[in-house]
């Protein structure tokens, strides 16, 4: 009999089993890329957002890190469809922490995801990087 590991909530387990949003977009004028973190520090995220009419039309990610970070990145890419640059700048890691029942010890990892979202906003097609 296996016992579920209490460190991981249901949503983290589900997303690790079938993580949606994994992938990358080729470089293009309508693609914003946000990179954050460092493998040496145990957490690295890259977010790709295709932008059409000022809003995200498609988003995907790659992540190196703990299950909570990978699940949070997957969760975020699902919510980015229709987001504006301002939405990305305003996105707060606490939303993912609450939705995925992330333990406090892992909050720092989610900051890496927030940094990636803001970096993507900084690379928004058409400019705006100086505001980040």
């Amino acid at each position: 009999m296996t016992v579920d590991d209490p460190r991981y909530g249901v949503e983290v387990r589900r997303r690790m089993a079938t993580p949606s949003g994994v992938g990358e977009l080729p470089p293009a004028a309508d693609v914003a890329v946000g990179r954050a973190g460092d493998r040496e520090q145990g957490a690295a995220v890259v977010l790709w957002c295709r932008v059409a009419d000022g809003r995200v039309s498609e988003a995907c990610f790659r992540a190196f890190g703990c299950p909570h970070l990978v699940a949070a990145a997957s969760w975020l890419t699902e919510r980015l469809a229709g987001a504006t640059r301002e939405d990305l700048l305003a996105w707060d890691w606490r939303e993912a922490a609450e939705a995925l029942q992330v333990p406090p010890a892992k909050f720092g990892r989610l900051l890496t995801l927030q940094d990636a979202a803001r970096a993507a906003a900084g690379n928004w097609p058409g400019g705006g990087s100086s505001t980040v």
Partner: protein, 389 residues
């Protein structure tokens, strides 16, 4: 019945059913349950005889005289009694202790306690393969060096130290030599006389004996003094007070007797399984073996999977009972201090697994583990950004 493949035998082993059988003989109302110190009545004398038989069996495994064996609660207590007990007894002789950064916390924390008491401790670093060279010890010895403490087999990476060479050097220089043999005893030959070991810490549960019982072998000729840590009934020649747990001691004796008689075939079979495991995992790109490639105990394999985060790797293999490179600091999440001491970066240390095999491991389990880990590593690498992204 567990559906998990147990590959964490370096942490602890299941008790051999033959050991369970003799332990049970000392527990029930019709068994040898009496206090072994109560030699004034037959049940007490029967229990005492059981304890002394086990003492013989433990001593035989390490070439010691039975009178050298002091039963303790495990290797941690034995290490503490050896290091603290000897240093406190002989503190007039010198205040310097030599050990290594890759030792078990039972040794390192005892040494830190000595530092708080005014002793000076030198923490040496082994080579990148985890091996300690005797010349390194020679260079570290000082006029006031009292004690050298070196583990026989490293619990994380499984490398085997030449304790005999270090022991002979210490004996020539008049320095006490303590060996933590928790991982090596019963798996590799060890002899306190041949290897010039003054203090040898042992445990039962790493060789299919029960948890909660260990022993310290103390040199008798010339007699070595120790300051005891526990005070009470004066059992174990006053060095370790407390009622002797007959069933645990008998279990340790049986486990050591079996280990001694089956060391060769067990070692060959388990070593073969370890090579099969390593051969399967090494087919993956970006895989590194931690520790010396040949000077290894049969059952322990430590592997780094570059480009894979350790916690996620463990998460991805729920059917395997293994530990990550951060396992020894699981609560802090810090990378393994052993792998860091060998020069692995924090990232690589965190991307490591320790897989350890035992008497009941099988080729089928090894093959299933190879498949599960290969799938997990491949999957996580597919999710991760390219290095440098």
């Amino acid at each position: 019945m567990s559906d998990v493949i147990y590959l964490d035998n370096a942490a602890t082993t299941p008790v051999d059913p033959r050991v369970v059988e003799v332990m049970l003989e000392c527990l029930g109302p019709s068994g040898d349950y009496a206090n072994p110190s109560a030699v004034g009545h037959p049940p007490g004398r029967r229990a005492r005889a059981r304890v002394e038989q086990a003492r013989d069996e433990v001593a035989a495994l390490v070439g010691a005289d039975p009178s050298q064996v002091i039963f303790t609660s495990g290797a941690t207590e034995a290490d503490n009694l050896a290091i603290l007990g000897a240093a406190r007894f002989y503190r007039e002789r010198g205040g310097h202790v030599v050990t290594w950064r890759t030792e078990h916390p039972a040794v390192l924390d005892a040494c830190r306690q000595l530092e708080r008491e005014g002793f000076e401790v030198t923490y040496l670093k082994p080579g990148p393969d985890g091996i300690v060279e005797p010349a390194q010890v020679e260079a570290a010895l000082r006029k006031d060096t009292l004690l050298v403490s070196l583990m026989h087999v490293n619990n994380e990476i499984g490398v085997v130290q030449d304790v005999g060479a270090v022991g002979r050097l210490c004996r020539e220089r008049g320095v006490l030599f303590h060996v933590d043999a928790a991982q090596g005893a019963g798996k590799l030959p060890l002899d306190v006389n041949r290897d010039c070991i003054d203090l040898l810490a042992l445990t039962a549960h790493k060789v299919h004996g029960p948890k909660g019982i260990g022993a310290l072998c103390v040199r008798r000729e010339p007699r070595l003094g120790l300051v005891p840590m526990l005070h009470g009934g004066g059992q174990e020649r006053g060095l370790r007070s407390g009622t002797l747990p007959t069933h645990q001691i008998v279990g340790m004796g049986a486990a050591y007797r079996i280990a001694m008689s089956e060391m060769l075939p067990d070692g060959e079979r388990i070593g073969g399984l370890r090579e099969r495991l390593w051969g399967g995992l090494a087919r993956l790109p970006g895989v590194l073996l931690n520790g010396h490639p040949t000077r290894r105990v049969p059952g322990i394999l430590s592997v780094t999977f570059d480009g894979v985060e350790g916690e996620s790797l463990l998460f991805e293999v729920p059917g395997l009972a293994v530990t990550s490179g951060s396992a020894c600091a699981a609560t802090s999440g810090e990378p393994s201090y052993v792998l860091r001491a060998l020069g692995r970066s924090d990232r690589l240390a965190q991307s490591s697994l320790r897989l350890s095999l035992g008497r009941f491991s099988s080729a089928t389990e090894v093959d299933a583990a190879i498949e599960a880990i290969t799938m997990a590593v491949t999957r996580l690498r597919a999710i991760a950004p390219e290095a440098g992204e």
